[in-house]
Amino acid sequence: MATLSLRNVRKAYGPVEVIKGIDLDIDDREFVVFVGPSGCGKSTLLRMIAGLEQITGGDLNIDGKRVNEVGPADRGLAMVFQSYALYPHMTVSENMGFALRLAKVPKAERDTKVKEAARILQLGPYLDRKPKDLSGGQRQRVAIGRAIVRAPKVFLFDEPLSNLDAALRGQTRIEIARLHEELATTMIYVTHDQVEAMTMADKIVVLQAGRVEQVGSPLELYHNPANIFVAGFIGSPRMNVIDATVVSAGGGGVEVRLPSGAQIVVEVAAGAMQPGMPVRLGIRPEAMRIDPSGPIAGEVRLVERLGGLTLLHLGAEGRDDLIVQVEGTSAVEAHQAVRVSADGAACHLFDADGLALPRLARHQLVA
């Protein structure tokens, strides 16, 4: 049982402010992912929650109690580090039992808890090995095991998968999600990988330059990004962004003109939009398709065949990297001229400040 709340939490190193006032609520048993580009402050924020970095200003509450000045171990949290940070001179079972040993838990009870964690993580055969005799994936599991043994209120993960190879990363991702299900504990997970964020999170917190850009469920962020930064960060391949001009604005949406003169009606609330205003049109690669009568004409520069899907990089609308996602069975080849259309209901429109105009109809999954 653990809820967290952050109220105007700030962190400064001397005159340099790296966390600029963060408000956030984390519910019990929620899986929250902090995501953002490197240097956005996500790891610093996690370390502040852990108690490894001092909080310059604001309040951090765990279960309603202010813990700014409480030491790391007494906050009831456990952390899995990016480098695993296993104790190299201890065996796997000593590593996992270290916290209990410090807490003077009797040896028999300690062994029971270590064995239970080892069972959950399938580490049984390795309990007497030293970390250097383990593979990367096994070390990762020991690091998680060390956290499990403490039965913490909140698990903190600091980019735990970034030292694993791609196959293992996918597998461990599923394991952590399974663990969240099994342990039913609050988890906070930091990553720069939006795929990890999308697949694991109940709630994603997108950070940039020490500020929260948006908080929401993965699909909420995908379908209704609050601004152009979130739109570009969430979703893979990236959303295409094209400069455009408003032609007309009304109840049915906003009609915009692209650099080539092509026009598209985007189903968003017009708000204060006036004809002639500059906007940016966001179209996800999966919202476009090859269409001989489509408004956008371009030339295929590059074809990336992923098997099930194919990504076409188009030269169009003054850009040479407009990405269109088509079926893997598509026969389109490089240097071919194509026309594409975009689904106006799935397009996004951003004003001059980069803020998204609200969609007219919310997606059924995030309604």
Binding site: A50, G51, L52, G71, P72, A73, L77, A78, M79, F81, Q82, S83, A85, L86, Y87, P88, H89, F98, A99, L102, A103, K132, R146, R150
Partner: protein
């Protein structure tokens, strides 16, 4: 291949040449200690070996008392230096401030001061506090003398320990002392050991302070050697015998700990 073989031979020859050059004085000293005084002056290589000098040295001075002082003072000075340096190096390696670098350099700069420059104030301090000719006085001086080097060495070993390991310890509930005792000490043991060995050797060989601050009660083996360089003429055989006896313990000790010492000084402390 032939190229690298030639290079290897050259390196081996050079290495042996340097080693022999360094070893020769010790070899000559040991040789001289087994000569009679007349043979000692002629510097000949073949002679009738005798233990006469050793007998005289033993008869004239209480070797064991000096040796005990040397052991007690070297060990004491080293333990005290480590006890002061471990927290200092921990703090500078893991909680650095903008002044850390300057503090380290300042500590090292004190080694550039000739000890004789502070002889009079130290002597007066010792006289006033009653520390003259006491083992505890010398232990204090030796610890302070080696402190900069000990802190520097420990600092470099500690620098190699990933911060995250200590942070993980803190998350697991370790106090600052717990971090040092459970994690830092075992992880940097080879480094701490070689630092301690070096400090022991430096203490053992120190002569300036021991000669000036002790007379009989707390005098270590360096004073024992000095007592044989008498003003009425040099007796090389006896002097060599005394010196051999003074350096023998540390030489034997160094021989057995050389692997540890070289490893600690050349590779990192943490694997």
């Amino acid at each position: 291949m032939t190229d690298s073989l030639a290079k290897r031979i050259l390196v081996a020859v050079l290495g042996w040449a340097v080693a022999l050059l360094l070893f020769f004085p010790i070899f000559w000293m040991v040789l001289t200690s087994f000569k009679s005084e007349t043979d000692a002056i002629t510097a000949r290589l073949f002679f009738q070996p005798t233990l006469a000098s050793y007998g005289e040295v033993f008869a004239r001075a209480d070797y064991l008392a000096f040796a005990f002082n040397s052991i007690a003072i070297s060990l004491g000075g080293t333990v005290l230096a480590l006890a002061l340096a471990i927290p200092a190096a921990y703090s500078m390696a893991f909680h650095p401030t903008p002044r850390t670098r300057g503090t380290l350099l300042w500590m090292l700069s004190t080694k550039m001061l000739p000890p004789v420059g502070v002889l009079v104030p130290i002597y007066l301090l010792f006289r006033t506090t009653g520390l003259l000719d006491t083992r505890s006085g010398l232990i204090g001086i030796y610890a302070l003398m080696n402190l900069p080097i000990v802190v520097w060495m420990l600092f470099t070993f500690y620098k190699e320990v990933p911060h995250e390991i200590l942070e993980a310890g803190r998350m697991d509930g370790a106090t600052t002392w717990g971090e040092v005792y459970h994690l830092l000490m075992p992880l940097t043991l080879p480094g701490v050991a070689s630092t301690g060995l070096l400090s022991l050797i430096l203490c053992w060989n120190e002569a300036f302070w021991s000669l000036n601050l002790t007379s009989s009660h707390a005098a270590p083996l360096t004073a024992f050697i000095a007592s044989f360089s008498s003003p009425e003429g040099l007796f090389f055989a006896k002097l060599s015998a005394a010196s051999t006896m003074a350096v023998a313990p540390i030489l034997i000790f160094g021989w057995f700990s050389q692997k540890q010492l070289v490893q600690g000084l050349t590779f990192g402390a943490v694997k």
